[in-house]
């Protein structure tokens, strides 16, 4: 059991937008013996598009000489009600982060086929249910990354590459209530209603499921969605 969670000698790339969960995951892999790097792929795609994401991932693989685990984290960085939203909100909250997640995975496929490696995507419970007002765009991106996980798992199944994802629960109070004041909702949901375990999701809540899915303990799991959400999704 202990040895199965040992990533000694494994090359791990944790890509995302530099949010706390990305750093916590990278740290945990290092503590478990891995040589782990972080790449800010969202920054890359914002400045230069899909090619820049691919280049960053390929550069990491060339430098470390391979890849065993790719983790991609997707965060929520933008909220707007549909009435006020513009195509720019869609670009920032959906197009760019989702595109970065896809092209990071695409660039990693050859190395992961070589190593019979694994991909773990970190998305959100919001992608599995109706999100609060103002969160439709990031929730759609999360739903897309969940389905991307399933689609890619089928594609890579015969190569021994597993693709799974972890859904974080609410990471801020704003995700629970949304922009309700502006939307005349009669009653705003509360933490008590929405999180059976009664608190927000912390980066360390996500780390365990991510390491598990990346490890041989999850060797027959692919296309799976694990929720690290304190029970939120169970009520939806």
């Amino acid at each position: 059991m202990t040895s199965a969670m040992n990533f000694s000698g494994k090359k791990v790339l944790v890509a995302g937008s530099g949010d706390p969960v990305q750093q916590a995951i990278a740290k945990a892999f290092v503590e478990a013996g891995a040589s782990a790097g972080e790449v800010d792929i969202l920054g890359a795609v914002q400045s230069a598009g899909a090619d820049a994401v691919s280049a960053k991932v390929k550069e990491y693989i060339a430098t470390t000489g391979g890849l065993d685990v790719l983790v991609v984290t997707l965060g929520i960085n933008d909220m707007e009600l549909i009435e006020a939203a513009s195509a720019d909100n869609w670009q920032a909250g959906f197009s760019m982060p989702l595109k970065a997640a896809f092209f990071a995975a695409q660039a990693a496929i050859p190395a992961l086929r070589e190593s019979s490696g694994a991909i773990v995507n970190v998305t959100s419970t919001l992608g599995q249910m109706g999100a609060a007002p103002g969160l439709a765009i990031p929730a759609a991106a999360m739903a897309c990354l969940i389905h991307h996980t399933r689609m890619l798992s089928l594609r890579l199944s015969l190569d021994g590459v597993r693709v799974n994802c972890v859904c974080q629960g609410y990471t801020s109070e704003k995700e629970i209530v949304g922009l309700t004041a502006a939307n005349d909702q009669p009653t705003a949901p509360t933490m008590e209603d929405e999180v059976p375990m009664g608190r927000l999701t912390l980066p360390e809540d996500v780390v365990g499921p991510v390491l598990f899915l990346a490890s041989p303990l999850a060797g027959f799991m692919t296309g799976n969605v694990l929720s690290a959400d304190g029970g939120t999704f169970s009520g939806h």
Partner: protein, 257 residues
């Protein structure tokens, strides 16, 4: 059920499911704005439906935000308001994940997902007034993972289903309902073409993979779209309605591929 004078916009309605839905709604008494990318083709399709007094035409690429706004504004003006928006236009470009280019990705995401958000957004003033309904046409491909060359399409359609959930939350206080329709294999010109090109492979696959053992008809999709426009469907919001003959319920339709 009568839909007398209901004001309806159906995107992508020059052929296939959209055209069949337009025909069903016109027969039920609705006023329908037909839409396609090219005005000429929209005019032809509209004329062929046989209800010139209640048929209107709008054109534009739903992959482009400005066109989304223009076509909704135009339809709303022609119809004198809007009760039912059906976001049906989509594209089915294929590519395996290893081969997807940024251009392919953007096009499929913009047309098959962002359009649902933007068209709904631009229709909101009219829908608030009518306390109307929206139907986002997604796909069985967004329900279960399927063939890999359909990668971007399937991912986009999962996003479309999510939009129906979240926007149902956001728009419920305004009395606006929004749902998703997830058709399986339907006998549209596009599928017929693919079937012919593969020597009948599509139909053979569908007969084997769906519980009902056959491809669905356009009319079977249109009747669901019509039903969701009626007051009988007034208690539906935020849900996917999967119209797939049992494609996704038991057998894997993707498998390892």
């Amino acid at each position: 059920m009568s839909l007398q004078d209901r004001r309806v916009l159906i995107t992508g309605s020059t052929m296939g499911i959209g055209r069949a839905a337009a025909e069903a709604l016109l027969k039920a008494g609705a006023k329908v704005a037909i839409h396609g990318r090219k005005l000429e083709r929209v005019e032809e399709a509209a004329a062929s439906l046989g209800f010139p007094d209640r048929t209107f035409v709008v054109a534009g690429d739903v992959g482009d935000p400005d066109s989304c706004r223009a076509l909704v504004d135009s339809a709303t003006e022609l119809l004198g308001g809007l009760d039912y928006l059906v976001c049906n236009a989509g594209i089915g470009d294929l590519s395996y994940p290893e081969d997807i280019t940024e251009e392919h990705w953007d096009k499929v995401m913009d047309v098959n997902c962002r359009s649902g958000y933007l068209l709904t957004k631009f229709a909101l003033p009219a829908l608030r007034e009518s306390r109307g309904a929206v139907l986002l046409v997604a796909s069985a491909a967004g329900v279960c993972a399927g063939p890999s060359d359909n990668f971007a399409y399937a991912v986009a359609k999962a996003g479309m289903m999510s939009l129906a959930q979240s926007l149902a939350v956001e728009l419920a206080p305004a009395g606006i309902r929004i749902n998703a329709l997830c058709p399986g294999f339907i006998d549209t010109p596009l599928i017929a073409e693919e079937n012919a090109a593969t020597g009948g492979q599509v139909h053979r696959f569908v007969e084997e993979a769906t519980l009902l053992g056959r491809i669905g008809t356009e009319e079977e999709c249109a009747s669901t779209i019509e039903y969701l426009a009626t007051d009988a469907a007034a208690y539906f919001t935020g849900v996917p309605i999967v119209n797939d003959g049992g494609l996704t319920v038991q057998r894997s339709w993707g498998g390892r591929n």
